[in-house]
């Protein structure tokens, strides 16, 4: 066995994976696509940087990270890696699962607390039921894990230069990119918002948005919502919904207005520092995961709260 291989198409996430892996194994090899990524990753203190390069110039589809699944699986197999850690992105999830299928090995999705056990086996935790439970799994032999962004600081070892190896590989061109467009308006970045005001179905009449917007303005917060508000009511764009299949936020302050608190939603703000719920129903499930449960009508509470916040400036 030759240590841990890490891969992400996002060099910053790859550098975080180097930190995670370095705590678990002496040898950490980082696999990347393209010379630019390689330049960043040589300064992470990794044992080596392996660049996968599409064989033949101008190969169609070579820009898709998913095109390198077979190459990555072959590398892990040939080098007898202990573990492949893949950054948990849309591309990373697919790549990890397909590599695991090719290697016929275990996959632990969004693994945390990864541990090398004394007997050579491994252990990791994963969340289940949208954060309602935590499952611990163990395995022996090569496996694939995905690791979410933000679990570790990006490795940076000033002055270090890892050796770089470029490998020409065949790429999978069966899926062809026709076009790619950015769908988020400039300035909307829920994931890095320091404060979030979230609209739930209890406050989802069109006129209510102004109320939420005013509180967000007072708090210098981003407006977010639950999935039904975006998808069923269409009141806000889908990139503004928080939840297991939507945005995951890490704010200092989350304020839920008329949010009932289904687990598929609450998992999306689990890392918030302080959680406030405002709901007319004292039995709203959201109140079980709140620091402050304000029982009352948001129409009445929110303008007073906005005024009180402004008065403190």
């Amino acid at each position: 066995m030759t240590g841990i291989y890490v891969f992400s198409e996002d060099p910053r996430l790859a550098a975080e994976l180097v930190t995670t892996a370095a705590a678990l194994a002496d040898e950490v090899h980082v696999v990347c696509l393209g010379a630019d990524a390689a330049r960043t990753l040589t300064a992470t203190g990794a044992t080596s940087v392996v660049v996968l390069e599409a064989a033949g110039p101008g190969t169609v589809g070579a820009r898709r990270p998913e095109a390198y699944v077979a190459a990555l699986a072959g590398l892990v197999r040939d080098r007898r890696a202990d573990l492949l850690a893949v950054g948990a992105t849309v591309s990373g999830w697919e790549i990890a699962a397909r590599v695991a299928a090719l290697l016929d090995c275990a996959l632990v999705s969004e693994a945390s607390v990864i541990t090398a056990l004394p007997d050579g086996a491994w252990q990791a935790e994963r969340v289940m039921y949208a954060g309602g439970a935590v499952q611990t799994e163990t395995w022996s032999g090569t496996a694939v894990v995905t690791v979410a962004a933000g679990r570790a600081v990006a490795a940076a070892v000033p002055g270090s230069t890892s050796p770089v190896e470029v490998i020409a590989v065949d790429v999978d061109t069966r899926v062809r990119v026709v076009s790619r467009t950015t769908r988020v308006r400039a300035g909307v970045d829920l994931a890095s918002a320091a404060r979030v005001v979230c609209v739930g179905m209890g406050l989802a009449e069109p006129g209510d948005l102004a109320l939420a917007g005013d509180l967000a303005d007072a708090l210098d917060a981003e407006v977010a919502c639950t999935r039904p508000v975006a998808e069923d009511r269409g009141l806000l764009p889908t990139e503004r919904y928080i939840g297991i299949s939507g945005a995951h936020v890490h704010p200092d302050l989350y304020v839920g207005l008329g949010v009932s608190g289904q687990v598929q939603h609450t998992v999306g703000f689990r890392d918030a520092k302080v959680v406030v719920g405002i709901n007319t129903s004292p039995t709203a499930p959201l109140f079980a995961v709140c620091d402050y449960a304000v029982v009352g009508d948001a129409h009445e509470i929110v303008p007073l709260l906005a005024a009180a916040v402004r008065a403190r400036r």
């Binding site: 999830w93 994963r126 039921y129 949208a130 439970a133 163990t138 467009t181 029982v295 009352g296």
Partner: protein, 254 residues
Amino acid sequence: MCFKWVAAEGELRVDPVTRAVDASRARRKISDYDRNTIEAARVVAGSMGGELVGLTFGGPDARTGLKDALSRGVDRAVHVVADEGARADGHVTAHVLAAQVRRLDDVDLVLCTEGASDTYAHETGPRLGELLGWPVVTNVRELTVEGRTLRAVRVVGVDLETVECDLPALVTVVPEVAPAPIPGLRSVLGAAKKPSEQVPVADLGLPAAEVTARTTVTSFLGYVAARRRVVLADGDAQDKVDALVAGLAQDGVL
């Protein structure tokens, strides 16, 4: 399309002290997002003039889910019955589903949901596609088929990526791909007349290594949120706001 029969997550009971999870009283249901997937699959199968087969792998109790899937628009349901108490991980599930898909004739397209409401592992779909040797397109929110070409719009981070590939293909979809209408009475009654089939997993003749989980679960504990749960219910609205603002100021978040 593939669907999963899961415990209703809202009905799991967690012991606040031991964190033990009691799922025995939780109702079972078709994983929420699979309902959107059934609808998307119904529409695309209709456009292709094809039959929609709903496929699930699960314990004997998953049989109850077949009727629900049929009433939601599946033309025929196949339930590969897992041995009672046997644990399946993504490795096992993908091998079982791949074996069953190969037993069906002329499958052009398999739809899975990006994640199930219990595990949400983004795993089964792409694993299945890889085992079938088909192109895989994940995280899709729009899809159409023209002739032998699939065109799909993927949500990739903040981008929308439009891709094409030839059939057969495996696609995983996100809930916005289609609404999940509640079946009407006529659909529910019609479901009883549609064919469904149960296949014991042993009938697939898979080698033991393919039906043995690659991981072992050593602990399964409920998550208990470490929140303060300060309830502000007394007094008028202004009293509650004053108490809230004082608390938030003390927490250093205002």
